[in-house]
Structure formats: structure tokens, C-alpha cells
Amino acid sequence: MNSFTVLQISASALEAQRQRMNVIASNMANVNSTRTEGGGPYRRMEVVFSPLTVEQNPAPLYGVEVVDIVRDNSPFKTIYDPGHPDADKEGNVALPNVNVIEEMVNMMMSFRAYEASVATFNITKSMIMKTLELGRA
């Protein structure tokens, strides 16, 4: 068993939360994007987390990784705005299925998880430093 494995666990969590933060940021940025390469308005994305085994013996320890980024297939918001360049014949515009409040909440959750992993990292570091001091006076 290696004391530095725990640092890997924290690092994987930081990486995963950062990726989640990127996805949230792109959802927020595209809250009004009505044209995409695939046609139609932007669809919000979401990350899928899965445990990542970093050590098997003597007991399994898990980091975390982003295994997939999926599109949210919930329906688009429609508003009535005949002046909009992407309005249909009736004057309705389909806007992305991004809910800003939901994204804000996800962002705060992600940030808290990130903070917790930074705290873990610091505690691990201080434990290792303390061990290195062993026997020194």
C-alpha cells in the first residue's frame, strides 16, 4: 500500500469536478443559442461519474472519473418572438433546454465537492509531512 494513492484519489476528484464545471459553464454560455452544427437549438449536457479503482489490495479504494457526457433530451423551451431570426411561421422560437437556476445549483454542488477534495488533499499532505518528521527529535 502506498500513502500517495490517496493523493491520486483527490486528484481524480478534482479533475472530474473540473470537467463537470466545464460542462456547466458551456450550458450557461449557450443559454440562448438557437443554432448549432447539428441544427436546432443547443441541448444541455451532463457528465456521468463512475468510480475508478486506484488500488485493489488490501482493500479497494476508488477515485472518480467522468465516463461519459450525455445530452439532456428534455423538451426545448418555446417563446413567442416573431422578430427572432429563428422563429417559425407562427412566430415561436425554440430555446435551449437550459435552466439557469438548475445550472447554478449544480455549479455550487460541484464547487463544494471540489473544495472537499482540496481539503482532503491538504489533510493527506499534512499527514505525510507529519510522518516524515517521525524520529526527528
Binding site: 490517496v6 484519489i9 488490501p58 489533510i123 507529519k130 518528521e133
Partner: protein, 121 residues
């Protein structure tokens, strides 16, 4: 006289193992279907406290001081995504565990100082 070293070593091993388990929980605080895990010190240490008291030569002594670490799965009420990690609880547990680890290191240092003082006389 040397049992203290063995006990402290065991304490440090278990504390660092538990640290890893709690770090896994914190890393997977948002992973669907993940269940929080923990190492219950009471069970492991109590058993070992009994194991070190050898009062008769025919008693079986466990050669391996460190036994298989008993990881238990927590049974807290899961969230909607079937994950039952409570982030603040885990951070509190981790702080407590790190303090225990530091206490172990401090005691080990004190014990070494004792020996060094005895040798100096």
C-alpha cells in the same frame, strides 16, 4: 516494552487506511449508485487489544500484526441517485481521523525520545 511500538504502528496503518476510504467517499460524493464505506476502529482495535494479551506459552500469537482491514458499507438513507455519501460528515470524519493519526505520530516520537534519553544516561 516494545508492544507500544507495535500498537502505534497498527494505529497508524489503520488510520492511513481509513483516510484512503474516506477520501474515496469524498471523491465519489456525486457518483450515482456509490455507497459510503468506513473502517470501524472499535471492532478492529478491540480484537487486537485482546490478541496482544498472551498470558500462557501455549497461546497462539498472531504473527502478522496487521489483519485484513474490515471495510463496512454504510447503511445511511441513500439520495435519489442511490448514493448515500454525506459530504460534511465525511469531512468531519476525515479531520477526526487525521488528528488521531497525528496523535499516533506524536506518541511514537515521544516514545523514541524516551528510548534516546535512556540510552544517553
Amino acid at each position: 516494552m516494545n508492544e507500544g511500538f507495535a500498537a502505534l504502528e497498527r494505529l497508524l496503518f489503520l488510520a492511513s487506511k481509513r483516510h484512503g476510504v474516506i477520501a474515496s467517499n469524498i471523491a465519489n460524493a456525486d457518483t450515482p449508485d456509490y455507497k459510503a464505506k468506513d473502517i470501524k476502529f472499535d471492532d478492529v482495535l478491540e480484537d487486537e487489544a485482546i490478541a496482544v494479551r498472551v498470558t500462557h506459552p501455549s497461546h497462539i500469537v498472531q504473527k502478522d500484526g496487521v489483519r485484513g482491514v474490515g471495510i463496512v458499507i454504510e447503511t445511511m438513507q441513500p439520495w435519489k441517485d442511490k448514493n448515500n455519501v454525506e459530504l460534511d460528515m465525511e469531512v468531519a470524519k476525515m479531520t477526526e481521523n487525521a488528528l488521531l493519526f497525528q496523535a499516533g505520530i506524536t506518541m511514537l516520537t515521544a516514545k523514541m525520545r524516551m528510548f534516546r534519553n535512556a540510552l544517553r544516561r
